[in-house]
C-alpha cells in the first residue's frame, strides 16, 4: 500500500512511453504461451505467406499468359513455382490448420489452454523460423539480383536433380533445412493437438460428443505424426548425400531416384489429407449452423474421417504411375486410390443431407462452404480419373493434374478456410467482417477460380505439361492460357478485398457479441474475444451441441442423439 500522504521524492511516472508500450506489446506476443494468441500468430503468419505465394502465382501466370514470354527468366520461373508450391503447402496450409486448431480446439472442448502451452509456443516459432529460413534464400547466394539461391528443384524435388552435381550452390539446402525445421514445429503442434483432444475435454464431452472440427484435427494430427517422419528422414538423407558423401539418392554412385519418390510421396499424399481433413472439419461446423440442422450421420462422419486417414496412407504411389512400376503395383495403387472415394463420398452425401430440409442462410461462410461442396465433388471425380492408371499415364504432370489439385487445395482447402475466417473472425476479434465485402470477395474469387482452374483441365487434355516456363505458340494452348491468367488476376483482386475487409472490420466492424451466428458449440458461449482463461467455470455438456440444449431446453439433443 503506497502512502498517499507522503509521496516518494521525485516523480515516478508509471505510464510507459509510447515506445516502451509498443515494446511491451510486441514482447507479450513473442513470449506468449496462450493458445489463442499463438493461434492468431499462426493465422496471421499464414495470411502473410498466402499473399507472398499469391504474388508468386501471379508472376507465374503473367509469364504464361502468352507463349515465349520474357517476363520471368527460366531460372526465376523455376524458383517461383518451387516456392509457390512449398509455401502454400508448408507455410500457408500447415500453419492455417494449426492456427485454427490452436485457437478453437481448446475452446470447443471446454478447455482453458492446449495440453502443452510451452511446446505450443516452441512449435509455432520453429515453423516461423523454418519459413523465414526458406525465404532468406531469396537474399542468400547471389542476392536479390537473380533472386538469390531460392530453391528451384520443384516442391517434390526429385532426385537426382537435387544432387550436388545438378544443384550446385545452396538452393536445395535452404529447401531441405527449412523443411526439417518446420517439420519439428509441425510434429510438436500435432502431438499437442492429440494430447489436448484426448486429455483436456470438459466434463460430459465423450469422444463421440467432440465437435467434428476437433475430430478432424485429431485425425489430421495423427496423420501428420506418421508422415512428417519419412519426410524428415528423406531430407536428412538428402543432406547426407550432399555433404557427407552419402549415396542414398545419388544415381551417379548407384543410388536410387525411385527411393526418394517413395519417401516423398508417402509423406506427400497423406499431407494432402492432413490439409483437407481440417477443411472438412470447418465445413462440418459451418454447414449445420447455417442450415439450422444437426449434422447428418455424425458417427458415419467420424468413421469416414478415420477411414480416409487410414486409406490415405496406402495410396502414395498413384503419384508414380509413370515411373515404370510393375502392372500389379499399378493395379494395386489404382484400387487403393479409388477406395478413398468411398469414405469421401459418404462425407459429401452427409453434408448434402444436413442441408436437406434445413433453412439455409447464405451468409459468407456458408457461401464458401457451398462452393466447397461443389468443387470438392469435382475434385473427387477428377481424382478418380487420375486413379485410372492408364489415363494417368496421359494426365500425369499435365495441367489436368494442376487443375485437379488446385480444386482440392484452393477450391476445397482455401475455400473452407475463407469460410473459417468469416465464421470465426467475430469470435477472435469481437467484430463482424463486412458481409458486403464478403460477398464481393466470394463471388470474385469463385468466378476467378473457375476461369482459371476449369480451363486448366482442358489445356491439360491438349497436352500441356506442368513446370514449364514457356510454351510454343503453335500448340493451341495460347487462348486458354490467357483465360487462366485473367482468372488468376480476378482471384488476386478478391484476396485484396479480404485483406481490406480484415483490416477495416478490425477497426470499424459492428460488435459481434458472444454468438452472432446462433451457433451450438462451446466457443460461442464465451465472450468475443474470449478472456485468457476462456471459461469462468468448466462447462458441462450432455450432447454434441451444448448450446442447442441451452437454447431449446424442451427439446435437447441428448434425447435423440445416437
Amino acid at each position: 500500500m503506497a502512502d498517499q500522504t507522503y509521496p516518494i521524492p521525485g516523480t515516478l511516472d508509471t505510464t510507459p512511453s509510447r515506445g516502451a508500450a509498443l515494446l511491451e506489446w510486441v514482447h507479450s506476443w513473442v513470449v506468449t504461451v496462450d493458445h489463442k494468441k499463438l493461434g492468431i500468430l499462426y493465422i496471421a503468419y499464414a495470411l502473410v505467406f498466402l499473399l507472398v505465394a499469391g504474388v508468386e502465382a501471379m508472376a507465374i501466370r503473367i509469364q504464361l499468359a502468352i507463349p515465349h514470354n520474357h517476363f520471368l527468366s527460366a531460372e526465376l520461373y523455376n524458383e517461383f513455382f518451387t516456392m509457390h508450391g512449398t509455401t502454400m503447402v508448408f507455410l500457408v496450409g500447415m500453419t492455417l490448420i494449426f492456427g485454427f486448431g490452436n485457437y478453437f480446439v481448446p475452446l470447443m472442448i471446454g478447455a482453458r489452454d492446449m495440453a502443452f502451452p510451452r511446446l505450443n509456443a516452441f512449435s509455432f516459432w520453429m515453423s516461423a523460423f523454418g519459413g523465414l529460413l526458406l525465404y532468406f534464400s531469396f537474399i542468400g547466394g547471389f542476392g536479390l539480383y537473380g533472386m538469390g539461391s531460392a530453391p528451384d528443384v520443384s516442391w517434390w524435388a526429385y532426385a537426382p536433380l537435387t544432387a550436388k552435381a545438378f544443384s550446385p550452390g545452396h538452393n536445395t539446402d535452404y529447401w531441405a533445412l527449412a523443411l526439417i525445421v518446420m517439420g519439428f514445429g509441425t510434429l510438436g503442434a500435432a502431438i499437442n493437438t492429440l494430447a489436448t483432444a484426448f486429455s483436456m475435454r470438459c466434463r460430459g464431452m465423450t469422444l463421440l460428443r467432440m465437435p467434428l472440427f476437433v475430430w478432424l484435427m485429431v485425425v489430421a494430427s495423427a496423420d501428420t505424426l506418421i508422415v512428417i517422419t519419412p519426410l524428415t528422414a528423406a531430407q536428412v538423407m538428402l543432406i547426407i548425400d550432399r555433404y557427407l558423401g552419402g549415396h542414398f539418392f545419388d544415381t551417379q554412385a548407384g543410388g536410387s531416384a525411385t527411393v526418394w519418390m517413395h519417401f516423398f510421396w508417402i509423406f506427400g499424399h497423406p499431407e494432402v489429407y492432413v490439409l483437407i481433413l481440417p477443411a472438412f472439419g470447418i465445413a462440418s461446423e459451418v454447414i449445420p449452423v447455417f442450415s439450422r440442422k444437426a449434422i447428418f450421420g455424425y458417427p458415419a462422419m467420424v468413421a469416414a474421417s478415420v477411414g480416409i486417414a487410414f486409406v490415405s496412407l496406402s495410396v502414395w504411389a498413384h503419384h508414380m504411375f509413370t515411373i515404370g512400376m510393375t502392372s500389379v503395383s499399378n493395379a494395386f495403387f489404382a484400387l487403393s486410390t479409388m477406395m478413398v472415394g468411398i469414405p469421401t463420398g459418404i462425407k459429401i452425401f452427409n453434408w448434402v443431407a444436413t442441408m436437406w430440409g434445413g433453412k439455409i442462410r447464405f451468409a459468407t461462410p456458408m457461401l464458401f462452404c457451398t462452393a466447397f461442396l461443389f468443387q470438392f465433388l469435382c475434385a473427387g471425380l477428377t481424382g478418380i480419373m487420375l486413379a485410372v492408371a492408364p489415363w494417368d499415364w496421359q494426365l500425369h504432370n499435365s495441367y489436368f493434374v494442376i487443375a485437379h489439385f488446385h480444386y482440392t487445395l484452393t477450391g476445397s482447402f482455401v475455400f473452407c478456410f475463407f469460410a473459417a475466417i468469416y465464421y470465426w473472425y467475430p469470435k477472435i476479434t469481437g467484430r463482424m467482417l463486412s458481409e458486403t465485402l464478403g460477398k464481393w470477395h466470394f463471388w470474385l474469387f469463385f468466378i476467378g477460380f473457375h476461369m482459371t482452374f476449369d480451363t486448366m483441365h482442358f489445356v491439360g487434355f491438349l497436352g500441356m505439361p506442368r513446370s514449364s516456363y514457356t510454351y510454343e505458340p503453335d500448340r493451341g494452348w495460347t487462348t486458354l492460357n490467357m483465360i487462366i491468367s485473367a482468372g488468376g488476376l480476378i482471384q488476386a483482386v478478391a484476396v485484396l478485398i479480404l485483406v481490406w475487409n480484415i483490416i477495416d472490420s478490425f477497426l470499424h466492424g459492428p460488435l459481434a457479441g458472444n454468438d452472432p451466428w446462433d451457433a451450438w458449440t462451446l466457443e460461442w458461449s464465451t465472450p468475443s474475444p474470449p478472456p485468457p482463461y476462456n471459461f469462468e467455470t468448466e462447462p458441462v455438456v450432455r450432447s454434441r451441441r451444448p448450446l442447442w440444449d441451452i437454447k431449446h431446453p424442451n427439446d435437447p439433443d441428448w434425447k435423440y442423439e445416437r
Partner: protein
C-alpha cells in the same frame, strides 16, 4: 471383345462431340496435329487409354449429374425465406439405411471402375513384343533426347523416326528408356501415355502410330532450367520413307566438297576445337558423346531439342552463345572467331 470395343467407340464419338462443343477441343480428328491432344489418339496405347477414359467419363459424369443435381436442388429448395416460420427446422440426426445405401453404391462403382482399369493396365503394360517390332533406346539428357537404334546402328537426336504400323503390317516401336543425368519423361500424347526416364532404372514403353505424320511432345518431368524447351518430335514414316531414312542415316557423314573451302576449313575447326569433345560426326575425329550426334544434322528440322528451326542463322547464333537461344543449355559459348563460326556453320550445313 470386339463388340465391347465398338460400344466404347460409340461413346467416344458422343464424348468427342460433347467436348468439341465446349470449344477449342480438336477432338476426334485423325492423324498428326500441331496440338498434342490426348483426345486425338493415333496409336494403340493412346486409343485404349482414350476408350477407357470415355468409359470413366461416363461414370464420373453420371455421378456429377446426380450429386451436383442434388446439391443444386438443396440450395434452391431449402434456402431460408422471409416467409418461413420462426422456429428451427426438424432436426434429423441420421439414418442407417440411407447411409448404408450411399456406402454400398460407391463400393460397387469402385469395383467396376477398378476391373476396367486393371484390364487396360495389363493390356498396355504387359503387351507381348512381336518379332516385327523396332527397338529404339531413348536416352534423356539435360535438355535433349538421344535416340539409338541398336539393330540398325543409327544414333540421332530429338527427332525420332518410326515406321507407321497398320493392321495388315504391324510394326510397333518398343522404346527402352534410360537417362544420362536426371529424371525426364517421354510424352507424345497422340501416341500414348508418358513413361519416365530415370537413371539406374531402365523403363520401357511402346507405340504404333497408325497414320503418317509428325507427332509432337515434350519432356513431362521437371528436369532443370530448360525443361520447357526439351521438345520432342516423332515422325511416323511410310515403310518406304522409313527404309530410305534408315539408309541415309547409316551412311557416315558427308565429306565436304573440296571446292567448298569454308566447309573444309569448318571441318578442321570442328575436329580441332572443343566441339569434338562433346559431339560425334561419324567418319571424322569428332567422337564425343555428351552432346547430340551431328552426323546427319541437316536431316533434322530443328536444333536444340526443338528450341529453334535448323537454319544457318540459328546455327550461327547457337554456336556463338547457346544461352541466347536456350538459356541454361549445357553447351558453352564456343568463343570462336566470326570467321571460324562461319566456317563451322558452312561445314555443318553439308551434313545431310
Amino acid at each position: 471383345m470386339q463388340r465391347r470395343h465398338s460400344l466404347l467407340l460409340t461413346r467416344a464419338q458422343v464424348f468427342s462431340l460433347a467436348l468439341a462443343g465446349m470449344g477449342a477441343m480438336p477432338s476426334g480428328a485423325q492423324g498428326a496435329l500441331t496440338t498434342p491432344s490426348i483426345l486425338a489418339p493415333a496409336s494403340t496405347p493412346a486409343h485404349e487409354i482414350y476408350a477407357l477414359s470415355q468409359f470413366v467419363l461416363v461414370i464420373t459424369g453420371a455421378i456429377f449429374l446426380v450429386v451436383g443435381g442434388l446439391l443444386a436442388f438443396v440450395i434452391i429448395r431449402f434456402h431460408a425465406r422471409k416467409t418461413d416460420a420462426e422456429h428451427e427446422p426438424a432436426q434429423i440426426y441420421g439414418s442407417t439405411q440411407v447411409e448404408l445405401a450411399w456406402t454400398v453404391i460407391p463400393v460397387l462403382i469402385v469395383v467396376v471402375l477398378f476391373l476396367t482399369t486393371a484390364r487396360v493396365i495389363f493390356a498396355i503394360q504387359d503387351a507381348p513384343k512381336p518379332q516385327s517390332a523396332l527397338d529404339v533406346i531413348v536416352v534423356g539428357h539435360q535438355f535433349w533426347w538421344e535416340f539409338r537404334y541398336p539393330k540398325l546402328g543409327i544414333v540421332t537426336a530429338n527427332e525420332l523416326h518410326v515406321p507407321v504400323s497398320t493392321s495388315t503390317m504391324p510394326r510397333p516401336t518398343f522404346l527402352q528408356l534410360l537417362s544420362a543425368d536426371v529424371d525426364h519423361s517421354f510424352w507424345v500424347p497422340q501416341l500414348g501415355g508418358k513413361t519416365d526416364l530415370i537413371p539406374n532404372h531402365p523403363n520401357a514403353m511402346w507405340i504404333d502410330p497408325q497414320s503418317t505424320g509428325l507427332y509432337l511432345g515434350q519432356c513431362a518431368q521437371f528436369c532443370g532450367v530448360e525443361h520447357a524447351k526439351m521438345l520432342l518430335r516423332v515422325y511416323a514414316d511410310t515403310p518406304d520413307q522409313f527404309a530410305a531414312w534408315v539408309k541415309a542415316e547409316q551412311r557416315p557423314a558427308m565429306q565436304p566438297d573440296a571446292h567448298n573451302a569454308d566447309a573444309v576449313a569448318g571441318r578442321h575447326v570442328f575436329e580441332t576445337q572443343a566441339c569434338a569433345n562433346c559431339h560425334t560426326i561419324s567418319g571424322t575425329a569428332a567422337k564425343g558423346t555428351f552432346g547430340p550426334d551431328l552426323t546427319h544434322l541437316m536431316s533434322r528440322a530443328t536444333i536444340a531439342a526443338g528450341a529453334a528451326a535448323n537454319t544457318s542463322d540459328n546455327l550461327r547464333a547457337w554456336i556463338q552463345d547457346p544461352n541466347t537461344v536456350k538459356p541454361g543449355a549445357l553447351m558453352p559459348a564456343m568463343q570462336l572467331s566470326d570467321q571460324e563460326t562461319d566456317e563451322v556453320v558452312a561445314y555443318l550445313t553439308t551434313l545431310h
